[in-house]
Symmetry: C2
Subunit: 186 residues, 2 copies
């Protein structure tokens, strides 16, 4: 049995808490009767409100077409217990494999997009594609997070951060430096 | 005395090793007789060759104009021993303060850009602005890393990853999953 999390609605303007530290994420998508999952490490937060994420998805990736056609996807944050799934998903193509079945992950219905959420991930961010102007030059999608699902515990997930070459950094301890910040910068 | 690192030229197409895990970085810039430093957490790797980085720099930030006018900057990776400097730099404006002096950091000449490198940081990536098409809509610069300086030890720096609200995650241990990768995906 894989771990599951009890999630609640989370303010979309605060998702930087989980994405700015830079974890590898799983992106799930759907188009017609097809669903797929890919691993993604090249993305950034771009705005609080609307809640924007920019991300690079190689055009040769099977998910590229599903996301482009459906104009939606879900960004899922896996924790380190899903390490083998994260690597496995990045090592095969959705053209020939149903990755939900292959990796025994549960596709859960999202609230605002047709793309499925991955139940076993720590958090799920439902996204709509809002700008494709940089798609031709850089395969760069700009997404708006329209609904976020996050558990109240653990507060800080044990995430995986990719270094390339098969090496991941696992998230370490928290450092609270609030007292050094000006209140308006918090 | 702050720590310094003995750095060497590093292949620019491999800098994802340090940036993809998502550390907070210090961006140094120069225009005419002015130099500045800012903290940055919203950026992503976009390509190996050319070595591209996309980053969001708020237009109200003093560095925005320096980078826009000079078309260059240096991305510096601070380690956790520079935690107070990282927070302090984000809490004041270069309009009224010389941040190199204020935080006792050493401005070192770069090789290919006029922006200074921060000697006390683990790594320095010299960047040229190569695309400003997304500047108006999102304050999003696309940079090309033209020269990289990285020490051979430590191999994995102890970096800080911002969660917002004054909380940082410090990078943890490494997880080697090479044996689970297809060779062509490494």
């Amino acid at each position: 049995m894989k771990r599951t999390y009890s999630k609640k609605d989370f303010p979309v303007d605060q998702i930087r808490r989980f994405l700015e530290p830079g974890p590898i994420v799983l992106v799930s998508s759907a188009w017609k009767d097809e669903q797929n999952i890919m691993t993604m490490g090249w993305y950034t937060v771009m705005e609080f409100t609307p809640s924007l994420i920019g991300c690079m998805i190689t055009a040769s990736n099977h998910s590229f077409e599903l996301i482009k056609k459906s104009k939606a996807c879900v960004i899922n944050i896996p924790t380190v217990d899903l390490a083998k799934e994260v690597v496995g998903i990045g090592n095969c193509s959705g053209e020939t494999i149903n990755k939900f079945e292959q990796f025994q992950l549960t596709a859960q219905s999202a609230g605002k997009v047709k793309a499925p959420m991955i139940k076993e991930c720590y958090a799920n961010f439902e996204c709509k594609v809002v700008d494709t102007r940089m798609l031709h030059a850089y395969n760069f999608f700009i997404l708006e997070v329209v609904k976020a699902h996050v558990p109240s515990t653990p507060k800080y997930p044990k995430t995986m951060h990719y270094r390339g070459n098969g090496i991941f950094m696992v998230s370490g301890h928290q450092l609270n430096l609030r007292k050094h910040f000006k209140p308006q910068n918090l």
